[in-house]
Symmetry: C2
Subunit: 315 residues, 2 copies
C-alpha cells in the first residue's frame, strides 16, 4: 500500500456516540478496535466530561482500559477542563483534545465560560499534558458560521488559532459545527491558515447538513489540507441547530479517496464493517451512502441489476 | 441579479417522475411552472416514449400544451425514436433530447438496439428536428461506468461524443447514470472533452448514489464546465442498479452556488417551493438536504436553537 496522503481522524466513538442513546461499553470497545483494524491511525475514542453532562461518555476510563492498543495509533480523549485532563492522562490517552468556539456567544452557551477563560484553561491543559508526555490538540468550533452570530470573520478564526499556536498546540481542527461551510469558504480560510501558521497541522471537520461534506473535503484538499475528521456511518449530529446532521461518513470519504486513487491507508471493507456494527448496535439507519450502495468496484463485482429491461432512455 | 455563470438544467419532471408512481397531469404542469418561475431556463419537461414502456409519461403532449411558456425558457422533451420526435415537435417542445449509452451492453439492454443503430437514428432525429426549427440535444449515458462492463474508457466516451458532434449536436450531457463518478474522473474526462470538442457545450449529469454529487459538480466547475443537470428534491433514481439514488437535488446545488457567490439565476426560495410541491404530491420524503435544513441564511434568520444548553464540547 502507498503511504497515506490523507489522514482520516475517526470521531464517531466520541462526536458520534455522544448524540445517541447510551451504547454498552463492550460495543464501544469493539467499534474502536474495528476502526483501528481498518488502518485508521487517529481515533477520537471518548470524552472525559462529567457524566451528568454527557452520560453517554461516563465509561470513558473503562473504554480506554479495554481497547486493544494498535501500535502507531493515537487514541484521543476530549477534555473539558483540568479535571478531565487528569482523568484522561490516568486512562493513558495518547492525546487530549480541547474545544473552544470561535465566537463568544457559542462559547458562552456551549462551553459555559468566556473565550478568554477557555483559552487560559487550554493553556493549563496543554502544560499538564506536556508534563505527562501526552499530546494536546485543539478544535476551533463554529469556525464557518455561528448559530447565534451568523457569519464568522476570518479575523475571529485567525485569532483563536493564534492563541492555540502561541500556547503550543500544533494539531488544530477547524470545525464546521453547524454545517454551513461551502467550498469557497473552505478554500479561503484554509489557505489563510496554512500560510499564516506553517508550524500547525490542520484538520477540517465537516457536518453534512447541506450535502456539502465531500465537496468541502475536496476544496480543502485543493489547497493542501491533508487531514479530515469523519465518523463511521456519518454518526453524530449537531445539538445546537435544528436539522443538524452528522459528520461526513468515514466510509464515504474512503470511497471518494479510493476512487480518486489518493491513498489514505484505510481499508474500505474494514471501515464498512465498523459502520455496520454501529448501525446494528444503534438499531436505526445511519446517514452513509456507501453503507447502502457499496463501492463502484463492489457494484461491478456483483453486477446487481434489476429492472433494466423495463426502462429505456435512462440518463 | 448578476448574469448566470452556471446554468442549471432541471430534469426532475422527466428523469425524476419517470421513477415514481404516476403523478396527475395538473401537478406536473404546476411543478414545471414553478420551476420556470424560479429562474431555471432549461427544463427537461417530459418524455415522448411509448406509454406501454413508461406509463408515467403518457401525458407528454398534454403537459406541453398546458404549461405556461416562460419566454427565454427551453422546454425539452426526451425522444426515443423518430415517432417520438414527431410527437415532440407537434407538441411544440423547444428541444428534443436523445440518449445513447457509451457502452454497447448498456445500449443493447436499455435502448434495445446497437450503438451503431442508435447513432444512425440520432442522425435522423437531428435532421427532422432541424427541419422543424427545433433544437436537438444528446446524452452520453453511463459515461463514468457501466453496470455491465464496469469502468468505461476515455476512448469510448470520446467516440460517442465525436459521433454526436459530427451529426451536428452541440448541447451534450455527460451522464453518470449509475453514480460512480468521482472528482478525479470528472476533471479528467471533462478537460479532455472541452479541449477536443470546443464547438460543443457540455452539461454534467450526476446521481448522488455515493454522496459525491456536489463534489463532482465542483470538480466540473474547476475545469470550466458551466452546465449541470439536477432535479428538484433529488428526484429520480437509477433503475438499472440496486441502491441507485436520484440526481443531485437542484436546491442543494443552488444553495452551494449561492453560498459560493457563483450566480446561477435561480431563486432558492422558489425552487424549494417546487421541491416541496413534489414532496407533497409524491407523499414520501425526498433525498434533498436543503429541503430539510434550509439555507445557512434561513438558519441565521430563524436562529433555530434547541438543546444548546445541555451539550458542551460540541465540535
Amino acid at each position: 500500500m502507498q503511504s497515506p496522503k490523507i489522514t482520516i481522524v475517526e470521531v464517531g466513538p466520541r462526536d458520534g456516540l455522544q448524540m445517541e442513546s447510551p451504547v454498552p461499553t463492550h460495543i464501544k470497545v469493539s467499534l474502536i478496535n474495528q476502526i483501528a483494524r481498518s488502518g485508521i491511525r487517529k481515533i477520537e475514542a471518548t470524552s472525559f466530561v462529567h457524566p451528568k453532562v454527557i452520560p453517554q461518555m461516563r465509561d470513558a476510563s473503562e473504554v480506554m482500559s479495554l481497547i486493544n492498543r494498535v501500535p502507531g495509533t493515537c487514541y484521543v480523549g476530549l477534555v473539558p477542563n483540568l479535571r478531565g485532563t487528569q482523568d484522561a492522562i490516568k486512562s493513558r490517552v495518547d492525546a487530549v483534545k480541547v474545544v473552544i468556539c470561535v465566537t463568544e456567544s457559542s462559547n458562552q452557551k456551549n462551553i459555559k465560560m468566556s473565550k478568554a477563560e477557555s483559552i487560559r484553561q487550554s493553556e493549563d491543559i496543554f502544560k499538564l499534558a506536556d508534563q505527562s508526555g501526552v499530546s494536546a490538540e485543539a478544535v476551533a468550533s463554529v469556525a464557518f458560521g455561528c448559530p447565534y452570530e451568523g457569519n464568522v470573520t476570518d479575523a475571529a478564526v485567525i485569532n483563536l488559532v493564534e492563541s492555540f499556536v502561541t500556547i503550543g498546540y500544533r494539531e488544530i481542527s477547524i470545525a464546521d459545527t453547524i454545517g454551513v461551510a461551502n467550498p469557497a469558504s473552505v478554500r479561503h480560510i484554509s489557505s489563510i491558515l496554512r500560510k499564516q501558521f506553517p508550524q500547525a497541522h490542520f484538520s477540517l471537520h465537516f457536518h453534512n447538513t447541506r450535502g456539502l461534506g465531500l465537496a468541502n473535503v475536496l476544496a480543502g484538499m485543493d489547497v493542501g489540507i491533508d487531514q479530515f475528521d469523519t465518523s463511521i456511518g456519518g454518526l453524530g449530529g449537531c445539538p445546537i441547530v435544528k436539522g443538524g446532521t452528522g459528520n461526513v461518513a468515514t466510509e464515504d470519504l474512503v470511497n471518494m479517496l479510493d476512487e480518486m486513487e489518493v491513498p489514505c491507508g484505510v481499508s474500505l471493507d474494514s471501515i464498512l464493517e465498523a459502520a455496520r456494527m454501529a448501525q446494528n448496535a444503534l438499531d436505526h439507519p445511519l446517514s452513509s451512502y456507501v453503507l447502502t450502495s457499496g463501492s463502484p468496484a463492489s457494484l461491478y463485482r456483483s453486477n446487481l441489476i434489476s429492472g433494466a429491461e423495463n426502462l429505456p432512455e435512462q440518463t
